[in-house]
């Protein structure tokens, strides 16, 4: 049973008339790799800055290890922040940057030296220890910033878009690297990102922020397979949305065709709704699927591992996306303009109120 490290209770933040955080409850567990996911302006940085102590919450509290730290100054919190801009000290070398936090803790010189050397080794920057930030590449700076926050061994490490400034390939490598380091140090990480793929790859749990509200919190699998709102469904991965209307135990699409789903009670009869299905759940020409629809191929996009097909249908003004594995695509050559029928099982249909 893992313990709760951080409890956020009904926290709010207003900047004048702007409501950046609208009232959030969240528990972060010990040793967890937690991702905060949200679009630009959703309040991710604001939430992190409240945890680090740079913004005072308008209301609510932050408890760390059972103690209320809402009013503790940033320099007295066992919490460290890796800034979105890295915020490295330009007049200090990499090693001096990393040593700074340890000097603030008044550790003895030899220990500081040893710990700096150790962490430089972990981030593989030992040869560049005496360079100043402007003599380092973006990726190297990012690692110095990480080491600087990490070397203090905080209870909680906050990372604001740690990989945001890196190119795609480096990001992929660093995602795994971050996970390795987190595991090795046994420190709780809260990582802010607006890249949903990154969140899925790295995190033990993900929270989705939208306009200052917490939409959903759960494991990557839960979030991907069981989104609780239309926004969450569209934000994570690709989703096909079909406008429908509930009629008894069935959903009626725009063109009158029926769509089957496991319907709960929360959707009233005769109300408008949206049915959703992931592109990879759709398959070609399967006979015994619960749902079936026919459309015209309007675009084909080859992605190496898979083939994406766009289908114009009368069910929706947007094209329906289908993702075929390379094997399935081999078996059935498609061309633009062709009419095809696709199907999916009822259990893969998600329904949201409109």
């Amino acid at each position: 049973m893992t313990q709760t490290l951080l409890s956020i209770r009904n926290i709010k933040k207003h900047f004048g008339a702007v409501q950046a955080i609208a009232g959030i409850d969240l528990d972060i567990r010990e040793n967890e790799f937690f991702a905060l996911l949200g679009a630009s302006g959703s309040g991710k940085t604001t939430l992190l800055r409240m945890l680090a102590g740079f913004e005072m919450p308008t209301a609510g509290s932050v408890m760390l290890d059972g103690q209320d730290i809402s009013h503790v100054l940033p320099n007295h919190r066992p919490v460290n922040l890796m800034f979105q801009s890295y915020a490295l000290f330009p007049h200090m070398t990499a090693a001096q940057n990393i040593a700074y936090g340890l000097e603030m803790d008044k550790l003895p010189r030899p220990e500081i030296k040893a710990r700096v050397a150790e962490i430089l080794d972990v981030i593989q920057l030992s040869p560049l220890a005496n360079r100043k930030p402007d003599q380092l590449s973006g990726g190297q700076r990012q690692r110095v910033a990480l080491a600087r926050a990490l070397v203090k061994r905080p209870r909680l490490l906050l990372l604001d878009e740690p990989l945001g400034a890196l190119d795609k390939k480096l990001r992929g490598e660093m995602q795994l690297e971050l996970k390795r380091i987190q595991h090795e140090f046994g420190i709780t990480f809260i990582v802010v990102t607006h890249d949903q793929e990154e969140a899925l790859v790295m995190a033990d749990r993900i929270a989705i922020l939208h306009e200052g509200n917490l939409l959903q919190c759960g494991s990557p699998h839960e979030i991907y397979e069981h989104p609780q709102s239309r926004f969450a469904a569209g934000f994570i991965g690709v989703m096909n949305f079909l406008p429908v209307r509930r009629s008894g135990n069935e959903l009626i699409a725009k063109d009158g065709s029926k769509i089957t789903a496991d319907l709960g009670d929360d959707l009233a009869n005769e109300s408008d709704a949206v049915a959703a299905v992931r592109p990879e759940r759709l398959s070609l020409d399967v006979q015994d699927d619960d749902n079936r629809l026919t459309g015209r191929v309007s675009a084909l996009a080859y992605h190496g591992l898979d083939l994406q097909v766009h289908l114009d249908t009368p069910l929706s003004s947007e094209p329906i996306m289908i993702r075929l594995t390379a094997d399935a695509a081999e078996g059935r050559r498609l061309s633009i303009g062709e009419n095809v029928t696709v199907g999916w099982p009822a259990k893969d249909t998600r329904v949201f109120s409109a």
Binding site: N75, A87, F89, H91
Partner: protein, 284 residues
């Protein structure tokens, strides 16, 4: 467009600067090595006497005095100016330009008038004295005008806007997250200021100091008006050689000395700035 066309555009101005700045300056450089004529003229024989005279103990006390007044003025101006620049940079972004504008405004009004204002304030029958007396103080006030302090106040007053401008530039460019990073790593407000903000803005302080120092040490107006002619700065000495003592070669040597001080300080400052910004490649 070619460099030839740009050359035509630059020629008139460069000719002007050459004829009326470069050549006259080279001229006094040369003058410094000629002998003074018996009746004040110039005798065209080479000598190092003037240069030697600059370092003569006779003038050492004047130099020390000028340097200490200029240094004190520069120090005070830098402390006050930095504090003001810091406060302006800490103000809401919307209000900063207007604050800066009003801080610099006096700099562009007449130097003599600004200096004269202090005579009015510090005079024996001046405003400060009248206020103190009207408050009921009967005794004799210490002399305020025609003192070293008056000269220092006048210099600080006149050059303060320049220092504010010089310090504001690096302060306003600071990324606030860097100071926050220091707080986050456990630094107190004071430690953050001392170890992060101050070193990062040191170039502005150095520029401010050098300029106030050089302009003060070469000044002759303020010592004449607020010092009552009792103190000689290097500027007064130069003035005297040209207008009263009629020893132009020595005056020329003195002004070369002034330029040398300025260049030396500026070089030092550039060097320090480069060090601070980490422009040098460190060997690993």
């Amino acid at each position: 467009m070619t460099d030839r066309k740009s050359f035509y555009l630059m020629t008139p101005a460069l000719a002007w600067l050459t004829g009326l700045m470069v050549i006259p300056c080279l001229l006094i450089l040369a003058l410094a090595f000629f002998r003074r004529g018996t009746y004040g003229g110039i005798e065209y024989t080479f000598t190092l006497e003037n240069i030697g005279l600059v370092f003569d103990p006779l003038y050492a006390s004047i130099f020390l005095k000028s340097a200490s007044i200029a240094g004190l003025s520069a120090l005070i101006a830098v402390i006050v100016g930095y504090a003001a620049a810091y406060a302006i940079a800490a103000a809401p972004a919307k209000r900063q330009p207007i604050l800066l504008f009003f801080a610099v405004l006096p700099f562009w009004s007449n130097y003599l008038v600004r200096t004269y204002a202090w005579i009015v304030l510090l005079n024996r029958e001046g405003l400060i004295a009248s206020i103190v007396h009207s408050l009921g103080y009967e005794g004799e006030l210490p002399r305020m005008l025609y003192t070293e302090s008056a000269v220092v106040i006048g210099l600080v007053y006149n050059y303060l806007p320049f220092v504010i401008l010089a310090c504001y530039a690096p302060l306003s460019r600071l990324n606030p997250e860097i100071a926050e990073a220091s707080r986050d790593l456990g630094g107190s407000g004071w430690t953050t200021f001392r170890r992060v903000t101050l070193p990062m803005t040191a170039p502005g302080i150095a520029t401010g100091f050098v300029f106030v120092f050089v302009l003060s040490i070469g000044n002759f107006v303020t010592p004449a008006l607020l010092g009552g002619g009792q103190f000689q700065m290097i500027g007064n000495l130069v003035y005297a050689q040209f207008l009263t003592a009629n020893d132009w070669p020595f005056g020329a040597a003195l002004s070369m000395f002034l330029i040398a001080i300025m260049m030396g300080l500026l070089t030092l400052q550039t060097f320090a700035t480069e060090r601070a910004s980490g422009a040098r490649q460190e060997d690993t």
